[in-house]
Structure formats: C-alpha cells, structure tokens
Amino acid sequence: MNSSCWIPVRVGALGAVMAGFILAASPAHADRVEKHFAVQSKPKITVRNSSGRIQVKAWSRNEVLVAWTNASGKSVVETEEAGNRVEVSTRVNEDGVSADDSKTDFEITVPVESELNVRTDSGNVTVDSVHGDMTFDTVGANLQLSDVDGYMVVKTIDGSLVCNRCSGKLEANSISGNVQMIQPTLDSVRVQTSSGNIFFDGSFLSRGIYIMKNFSGTIEVHFTSSDSFDVNATSLKGDVINQASFKPDTHGSPHTASKWGHSLFGTLNEGHAKVELSSFSGTIKILKRD
C-alpha cells in the first residue's frame, strides 16, 4: 500500500478520535451526577432547588451523597461543604430558561441524624427515615415525610403535606394545601391551612398539644376510647360532628360557649393532652377509630 492510500484512513481515524473528544466534552445532560461529602454526625444539609423532585433518605454512614439529573443541561448545581454543613443549590446560566429546562431532580442520602433545610418552588419533596430538625419552604411542591423524627416546620402556599408515622413536633402552614398526619406520634402539632383539609389519625400523647385550624376545609380527627385529652372545637359557620363521649372539662377555667357558631368543650378520660380545633366555615369531625 502506498502512502496516498493511507491519507483517507488517517483522516478518518483522526475524525473518529476528534468526535470521541467532542462527545466526551459535551455535557451528558440527562446523566446522573453524584457527589460525596464526608461529614460527622448530625450534619446540616441545605437544598435550594426551584423546580424538580427532591428525595431525601437516610443511611447509617457518616456521609452525604447528593445525586442529581438535569435533563436539559441548562441548570447548574452548586455544592458547598464547610465543616459539618453541606449546601446544594441550583441556578441557571442564562436568561429565558423555562421551568421545565431548569428542572433538576435530586436524590440525597444523609446520615440518619441530620438537620434538613429544603427550599423549593415546584416539584415534590419526600423525606424518609431522617431524624433531626427540618424546615421546608415551598410554593406548590407537595411534601411527604415518612418515619421522620424531629422538629418539623413546613411552610407552603398550595403544596400538601402527608406525614406518615412522624414523631416529634410539627408546625405546618399552608393556604390551600391539605395536611394529613397518619399514625403520628407527635407531641406538638400546630397546623394551619386556609382552604385545605386537615386529617389526623393517631395517638394524642400525654402532655401533647394539638392545634389545628383552617378556614373552609374539613378538620377530621380520629381517636380511640383509651385516648386522654381535653378538646375545644369551634366552627364559626360550619358544623362540629362528634362521636366521643366527653365529660365536662374539669381543667382550668370553665368554658362558656360562644354565641357565634358551634362549639364543643370536653374531656376524654383524664384529659392529658390538649386538642384545639378551629374552623371558620369548615366542618370539624371528631371520629372514633374503627
């Protein structure tokens, strides 16, 4: 073979190599990216993501694993680690990027005992088995907490909150989102929503305080006959439906029913917990668990 025959082969090979380089240098947008952070126990993790799903789960390692995908490649994820603090945030590099393009999905694995700070606009947030204080600030994102324990503060505009087997203290504030607490072992509940519904199906712990308030939705509370709590339920324009056999409240000053709306005061068993239910025009239901 003479040298002239080699030229096309060499050009072809060079082209293939260059194409390989170009492919390697291009961001593989939909690819999953991972970052590991070595932490001590009880790290503080902050996540700020405007759009996209955020899943947080726990493991037994002293390490935070942050994995994300951004399908469009137009969103940049920035991470910062300082001491026992890890911060993750997204931003877009150019103007005019749509919400869909800036959407970034996160899977974050943290030590069981971790403090969480999550701020997002849209996209659902799920947290599993993390024990530590948590704050969530969302606009439309729904939030699902499962088997978590700590002081949880939730602020959302129309996102809903589902709390499965949550322990500790819960403060939640929403305008049109629903709040559900299923099998909770919470000793402090302060939940407020305007047009959303509130559902509580769990135990009222001794010394616990449970305040649930809405404007127009339904408040539904389930109890067992062995529960021990004082109740004060008032709906200004709606009904109060009660299946409990309350006796008059013997704690504190005697209650006088307001001349406005429907009220119910009473004590079940010793009245160890305190339950306050309030609605403007919604229905309050105090139902016996099957």
């Binding site: 919400a99 439309g140 129309d158 049109s176």
Partner: protein, 228 residues
C-alpha cells in the same frame, strides 16, 4: 477590657467616638475590630437609605388617596403625598432589595389594613347605612389591586432571570391571593355584621397576615427570579 464589655459600649454609643479603653481594645482584638467595622457599615448604610427618600410608585399613592376619598376617610383634593418630582431617580434600585421591598410591602399592607379597619370602625360608630362603593363598578382601581399587580409584575422588565420563573409558581401565587382575598372579604363581612365576634376578628387578622406573607413570598420569588 473584655469583648463583652466592648460590645455593650458599641451598642450603647450613639454617634460619638468610642472611649479610649474601647479604642485600645479594638486595636488589639481582631474580632471586635471586624464587629465594629460591620456596625459602622450598617449604620452608614441606614443613613444612606434614609437620605435617598425611598418612595413607592406614584400610582400607588394616587390609588390609596382615591380609595381613602372614595371611602370618605379624607376629603377634598389633597395633594398626593409624593409627587413624581420628588421621586428619587434611584428609588427603583433600592426597591429591588428584598429587605426594602419587604418593608414597603409591610407599609402598604398596614395602610390597607388600616383603611379596612378604619372603614369598619367608622361604619360601626355612626351606624351609617352608607355602603362602600363596589370595586367592580369603581372607575378607580383599588390600592390593593394596583399593589397586587405591582408585586406580581415587579421587575419583569428589569431583573435578569425573571423570565425563567415557573409559570406554575406565578399561577399558584395568583390563585392563592384570590383565595386569601376572598377570605378577607368574608371575614370583613362577618366583622361588619357581628362586631363583637372575636373569632371572626381573629380570622380576619389571620387572613391579613397570610396575605402579607404571600405577598412577601411573591416578592421574594420575583426579586430573585426563583430561589435565593
């Protein structure tokens, strides 16, 4: 001198110079020197902000004035509190600072609340049969609606990155503003009909508070084109 003592002196001193022991301490202590520098920076910035004469858009004042006149809380052709000539050319840049915007939001909401309460109070006091003009039929947009529009469009043309704002988020904020406004209207009606209904008053107060928080969230999201 200990750092704690220095901090107390720093807090208590007005505009005068620090006493000599404090000056000696600040020379020797790096942390207190940094604290002192920050303190003076904040102080100077506060003075600058005050000197800039921050003013909201004229149409907000005009609208507020019209609303007050319409509700007969003020009379006659009073001059708008802020004329355009008085508006500092740099006010918009200042307004873009979330803290200042938040304060502005608070002021306007407080004004709106005061208008509502004063209106209710006046109506209750004189047992007047006069009915406030319906917003739908009024040729003048209410201060509230102007302000709402202001908040939701703030910086649309001037803040880079706003275009990427999620329309679902904007829709959500608008939808929830309508919900809260509706609650405010219902609560106000209840309070007017039952002035001694404390629970209705509490709900009205809560709805105003919720609206303030919602507007603050809207401003914050608009200001930053998303999250900050």
């Amino acid at each position: 001198m200990q750092c704690e003592q220095f901090e107390r002196i720093l807090e208590q001193q007005d505009d005068g110079a620090l006493p000599k022991p404090a000056l000696d301490h600040v020379e020797a202590c790096e942390a207190c020197r940094a604290l002192s520098t920050d303190f003076y920076s904040i102080h100077d910035m506060a003075l600058e902000l005050g000197a800039e004469g921050i003013a909201p858009p004229e149409r907000v004042w005009i609208s507020l004035r019209n609303q007050l006149e319409a509700e007969r809380l003020i009379h006659g052709a009073q001059a708008a509190p802020v004329a355009s000539a008085q508006t500092s050319p740099g006010w918009w840049a200042v307004f873009q600072r979330p803290a200042v915007a938040g304060a502005f939001l608070g002021l306007v909401l407080a004004a709106a609340s005061a208008v509502g309460y004063l209106s209710n109070f006046a109506q209750t006091a004189v047992q007047s049969q006069w009915v406030a003009p319906q917003q739908e039929t009024s040729p003048v947009p209410s201060a509230d609606s102007v302000f709402k529009e202001e908040v939701l469009t703030v910086g649309n043309d001037s803040i880079p990155g706003l275009q990427r704002q999620d329309t679902a988020v904007t829709d959500s904020i608008r939808r929830n503003l309508r919900i809260v406004d509706n609650f405010i209207a219902i609560c106000e009606k209840s309070v007017r009909e039952q002035p001694d209904n404390q629970m209705a008053r509490e709900y009205l107060y809560g709805a105003y508070q919720q609206k303030a928080e919602l507007l603050a969230t809207a401003t914050n999201r608009s200001m930053t084109g998303g999250l900050q």
